[in-house]
Symmetry: C2
Amino acid sequence: MTTVPSKHRVSHRDKVETAILGEAVRQFAECGYEGTSIATVAERAGLSKQNLMYYFPTKQALYQRVLDNVLDDWLARMASLADPGKDPGDVLRAYVRAKLTFSREQPLASRVYAMEVIGGAKLYADQIRRRVIPLLRADIAVFERWIAEGKIAPVNATHLLFAVWAMTQSYADFAAQMTLVLDREQLQPSDFDDAERLITGMVLAAVGLQENTCPP
Amino acid sequence: MTTVPSKHRVSHRDKVETAILGEAVRQFAECGYEGTSIATVAERAGLSKQNLMYYFPTKQALYQRVLDNVLDDWLARMASLADPGKDPGDVLRAYVRAKLTFSREQPLASRVYAMEVIGGAKLYADQIRRRVIPLLRADIAVFERWIAEGKIAPVNATHLLFAVWAMTQSYADFAAQMTLVLDREQLQPSDFDDAERLITGMVLAAVGLQENTCPP
DNA sequence: GTCTATAATCAGATAGAC
DNA sequence: GTCTATCTGATTATAGAC
């Protein structure tokens, strides 16, 4: 049960767990929870199924750990971006950029989370309630305060956040369709630059911080 | 193999297939392809698993039919909305409304499609290439023509379409998370009204057809 | 078209030697 | 910690009577 304290900086257990989790997030993202077999994950991580189950006693435990890691990473990037004291334009730009960076750097993580939510979040609703919703509500409250102070145009703050979430998230989740439209093997850095420009422009125009005009 | 021509307006086969497909789309949306068992679908549709397999010889055949129906419905709603001769504002409003209506009326269909794309569209990439991409490309071309004619502001038309797609689609796919934020059992008609107002406002502001200003 | 019966396979999980 | 061996249950799919 307990582990002997290791003198190595990175224990063997950590190394093996990292390898397992790296393959697990890939499989869960591609095939979903039920479509993923722990035998496949084990094989690609370079160990036997039985050995994997020494580190993660059940498939659910593995899945929960993957989701926990996804959420940890995401929360670390997104926490306390929205500060009512900062400039609204700066915050909105940073917000879009941070979410888009997550989609670019951790597309598999994004897809695992998306699949869980689409399926109704039956296994993870409680964690979302506890860890995600408060953050989203706080962000919405900041937007609403700016509106009350007349710093941004009076839009529906909740749905504005939904919109930002959706637009940025889709560059991970719907990448397969986007690459078909763009006729590429995979999304390029320049695609993310284009996305950031367009989304930022949309959001700023929506809240009255930027004017997009037609040429006369 | 072949069916005797029926004198009934709706054949027995049609009725049974409709019942099966109705449960199948629900199961595939909730549990994904691998997570769905045809035995469960059959039971909820009121027949035996073996009987279901008389109508759909394999699980894949059932899944393909579900996806085909999803796409048929979506294409019927979205085809030829973007007409370069029409008023850009009217077209964009209609586009947002049509996609949002689909998310409200057919959330399960939307989720099945989303899961397939997130997983890499391994089974359905060809159909998407043949039936979806041309439509999206045509829409993009219309947007670009309006830009060239100076009718809307010069934004990246491709990513504008991605944005509209993402924002509207998310009211089906991410409904589970939205209801947690909004603290509701399920999304209400008023939520879709709010969404339509915000998204339409964002899109029109982005292309310079509407000014959103802060109060002074 | 619907049923009973069953084949064939594969999954997650456990036991125990080393 | 890692291995061999095995259990148990579920799943897709088929065969054939009626």
